[in-house]
Symmetry: C2
């Protein structure tokens, strides 16, 4: 089947110290593309069900994609996947930056890491060659110094390093992986898996050019898209304000997570806003490989209690909310400091903030006391509690730190005393900073994501409302009518399912949601053309959407195999309770409507409504019949 694309996958077994290279063949690439699609394919083939995620049996995969690394904005994201120590379910997190493209330039689409190194180690992937090197001298270091030492040791200032800091080494269940000190594969604890394997970092350097199947067509596309992406209105806002432009918009909608999701608006929101950041601590706009949008922030605070180095980037929307509004903290400098600490220690800012919010609510309810908090006042609004909390968690400081380091689900179970009702998680993963009471599709995506509560599994319902005439940008999917954020039922299910496939496709292709997101400068037909030009495949939006759907099913089957089912596809009780303030004050989700939406979703997916098990026919249709053996006992 000589269509054009082929690539290489690097296998590293840390137990034996062996390195091999395999070529899975074009059919595998065309069927799974990359990212979570490719990673979950390998995990289902090779990972034994029921293993301890922090044991040597876990398999850790870094996956780029067939188009990742081409010089068009947004084609940069890579995925880290493994069984999650936070949820015991499928684990996966994406990051932008430069590491993904660098892996491609070094000659590989993915790295599959098995086993466990006897001593702290890191990988050095340099233009097709691979070394497993000792990390004994850098073990225990924060990311900044560790990266510097690795680059010095390799005598390669341009090595791109994906790594863990103390939180990963200490097996904090939501430790993340960070590249360039600021781009995080944030969720599901992939950093803890690295830690459990004694793998400090993966440093990469590549100088190969990407092979493009149709260079002429690609040049034309690239020129056209670069102009389009640069001049696109929403991208200009992203450039100027970053994702922090969302703080005020979401606050005005009444769904800015505040006080551990009790409120939908925060009186201090303006102080955390993108506008305020731009006027104060913003040092520069930064970006990923080949991107002119540059939506990332670098902030700097030169002195004082919150002094912050710009090399760790700056807080994005999720962090402004999780370390800010969620905790009722309106001190932007403190939030920036918290963000810096998380990047130094490699802690997921969302779960870290949510864990602290949980502790604060327990504290205010008297379930935790000053005896638990070393005398610090853990009330909402106290920046000191937030910063201490981050530090304690990262180092698993005996007591509260160690407790919260396992995530709110385990922590609440340990505490007892009714703490569960303050633990806002799904499948053990803490809620991102989006309130389903104002965007029900997002709520459904939280509930059904194989990774637990996760905001990158579907676009926000409200984005399409805001997009207005840009609704036409999802018209190629046949979605021609607007569906309101709070709507439930058949129309919501339809819109959700298609956009869910698209988001899953983006993930497998490593395409940025801000280049190809709700306000799409990169339209869906153009994305198809990019894949065609790069790979030589005469593909279509049908084939690509089916890869998205396939990837959703891979995650589902992974979790079914681990014992998850319908009971786990739910939302925390709080979201069925009324919001206590803001534009949606008094509004909660309706349990019956939500259950019905879930059933519609299962059925639209070709899954049984009892436990969401794909039918044999659906597996056949998706070219996934090989998965039937894993789920046939669940029917």
């Amino acid at each position: 089947m000589p269509y054009g694309y082929n690539g290489k996958i690097l296998r590293v077994d840390l137990t034996s110290g062996t390195v091999t290279v395999e070529e899975p063949g074009e059919l595998v690439y065309r069927t799974y593309l990359g990212g979570g699609g490719l990673a979950s394919y390998y995990l289902l083939k090779e990972l034994k069900p029921g293993i301890d995620p922090l044991s040597a049996d876990n398999i850790l995969i870094f996956a780029s994609s067939v188009i990742s690394g081409v010089p068009i904005a947004g084609m940069v994201r890579y995925t880290v996947a493994a069984k999650s120590p936070l949820t015991g379910a499928y684990g996966e997190a994406e990051a932008g930056g430069f590491w993904g493209p660098e892996l491609k330039f070094a000659g590989f689409d993915a790295v599959i890491v098995t086993g466990k190194a006897e001593r702290p180690s890191y990988l050095w992937i340099n233009d097709g060659t691979v070394e497993i090197r000792s990390a004994e001298k850098i073990w225990g270091m924060e990311t900044g110094p560790a990266q510097e030492m690795i680059r010095d040791e390799l005598r390669e200032k341009r090595a791109r390093v994906a790594m863990i800091g103390p939180a990963g080494e200490n097996l904090v269940r939501y430790a993340c992986v960070v590249n360039e000190l600021k781009h995080a594969n944030g969720r599901t604890g992939m950093g803890a898996v690295m830690g459990s394997k004694n793998l400090k970092a993966v440093a990469v350097r590549g100088t190969k050019k990407m092979e493009i199947h149709d260079p002429e067509k690609f040049r034309e596309l690239s020129k056209n898209l670069t102009e389009l992406i640069g001049s696109h209105g929403p991208n200009k806002v992203l450039h100027k304000l970053g994702t922090s432009n969302l703080v005020m918009a979401i606050n005005n909608q009444g769904i800015l997570p505040t006080r551990n999701f009790r409120d939908g608006s925060f009186e201090g929101a303006e102080k955390l806003s993108g506008e305020r950041m731009a006027e104060t601590i913003l040092k520069s706009e930064e970006g990923c490989y080949a991107c002119a949008v540059r939506c990332k922030r670098a902030v700097e605070i030169l002195s004082g209690p919150y002094a912050t180095s710009r090399c760790y980037g700056g807080p994005e929307y999720e962090t402004l909310s999780s370390l800010g509004s969620l905790l009722c903290i309106d001190n932007l400098e403190a939030v920036a400091k918290g963000n810096e600490l998380c990047n130094r220690y490699t802690l997921d800012t969302i779960s870290a903030g949510a864990a602290i919010a949980f502790a604060m609510e327990c504290y205010e309810a008297g379930i935790l006391t000053k005896a638990d908090t070393e005398g610090i006042d853990f009330t909402f609004g106290n920046p000191e509690a937030m910063l201490k909390g981050i530090e304690w968690i990262a180092f698993r400081r005996r007591g509260l730190g160690d407790l919260l380091a396992d995530g709110v689900k385990i922590a609440a179970a340990r505490i007892g005393k009714g703490a569960e009702k303050f633990a806002l998680h799904i499948k053990g993963q803490e809620l991102p900073m989006h309130d389903p009471r104002g965007k029900t599709g997002q709520g459904l995506s939280f509930a059904v994501s194989p990774t637990g509560a996760d905001h990158v599994r579907a676009p926000h319902d409200t984005a399409f409302q805001a997009a207005g005439p840009n609704l036409g940008r999802i018209a190629p999917l046949g979605l021609l009518e607007p569906v309101a954020g709070r709507e439930m039922g058949a129309r919501k299910a339809r819109n959700f399912v298609y956009l869910h496939f698209i988001w899953s496709l983006y993930e497998s292709l490593g395409v940025c949601n801000f280049v190809a997101g709700p306000v799409w400068a990169l339209t869906l037909p153009k994305l198809v053309e990019v894949v065609q030009a790069v790979t030589g495949w005469e593909t279509s939006l049908w084939e690509l959407m089916k890869v998205g759907e396939r990837s959703v099913n891979l995650g589902r089957v992974f979790n079914l195999r681990e014992g998850f089912g319908r009971k786990d596809d739910t939302l925390p009780e709080r979201l069925f309770e009324p919001l206590e303030s803001g534009a949606l004050e008094g509004k909660g989700l309706d349990r019956g409507e939500f259950d019905d939406l879930l059933t519609l979703y299962y059925e639209a997916m070709g899954w049984d409504p009892k436990d969401g098990v794909p039918t044999r026919g659906k597996l056949a249709e998706l070219n996934l019949y090989w998965l039937d053996e894993f789920v046939k006992d669940r029917r």
Copy 2:
């Protein structure tokens, strides 16, 4: 939603004699496109379940499509739909020729005919104006003279006339509708529905040009496609030999229906072949509007018992088999004469041949005797029996003619004595000339087609084997691996479902299967571009495939509402028995494998495996939730 396309639909109520014009709006067009998609949408909305198909309650729809009539080869087909008097299920048949484009030039996308005229009538649609005119003088006439009289009366030689002859007037349950005397909407008895409404013909003349949203893009596509379609290898074969080129190919595969499907090869096949026709009776190659392929035949026999006028066209593959090999008749002239009679009387050649084959097998088994056949020897191989049979059926001659005019299912039930086993039908419609024992996907399509056994619901499995490197032409669907004709199971289900959607899409778009068929000169991505250029919609293969899937579901729901279910989705017993001759001698289908394939199909469709009822979620996903009320009692 100002994307570009809008159109008009003509409503004619024959009972009251009123004519109205409606504009359903762009959303309806984009959701259903035309053909069977649009027709079944209206039937489900407006037809009462349980009505007698031959009563005034039936609704008869002529439907073109949003792209039909543009000057690119193959964009010409239109659909006639109603509840079928042959099956009691959804009825639908397509035809090529010139009538469909002419309807568009006259300003309409579709004509919806309700009620029943008090006296014989015909419609005259002339550039946006409509008349219901008396057909009393032409009632009873064969097609040729009737068309001439209509044109004379209208003083419009260029009027395109879709009409019925005696078979339609006599309510033969498989009477067809014929335009230009030779292009037939063949199956499911749409001619009988016209007859039951006292509607002799629909004459159309239009001079409007088609509106093209993007004329420049369209010109470029049109130029490119016209060259491509003209020079494409398989199209040259079609031009030279017509569909009759298939006779020898299919005979060699061992699946040329012979002796009422007992045999898979016919010793006289060569005498019926396209090659033989080209050497003998072929007068000219003919075609449809704007087509350079010209795959249709016109034959002429100047004298003798089989003298035939070229104005009735010539036999295509289906007819060469149904009036030839199926009856063991190797006399090409006799078959050509039988074809001519069918076009004069408006009889479906497939069902007519199958009914005669049924009678012949009954005769050879002693169930029918010379007392039933007016002394004619009804053994296989006798051309006289075939020609008399056609005449008797068309005029419902008392005895055998009247008996066979109701189709083999009803006839066998009336005869009793074990005749059922010779009645090869599905849901009451006789089998087309394709043997599922050599192409199992085709068998599945026969079983599940809402119209009963029907060969235009999915491509032939074998076509893709033959296509070889052209398999790449279905690659845009993600179908990347060949699947053998006789294969069953998951891979077959997957290929079938996607191709089934594509064929359904072609039907709704009115696109010819030979321009956009298995060997596709018009590739799928190009087809998307054509729809974009004509309508102005930024559509995609995803959206269009979903229209195809939607249309399949509309037909399914129509039939569920009429009481059909899994028990009706089967194949005649004969196909589970071994073939008695040919390359597949000794091979029959396996009942267990077939049932499993059917279950996989239902599940892949999102239908329950018990009765093939679409789930609520699947209806929601397809934007068909409004159909839930029709099927909720079937779950």
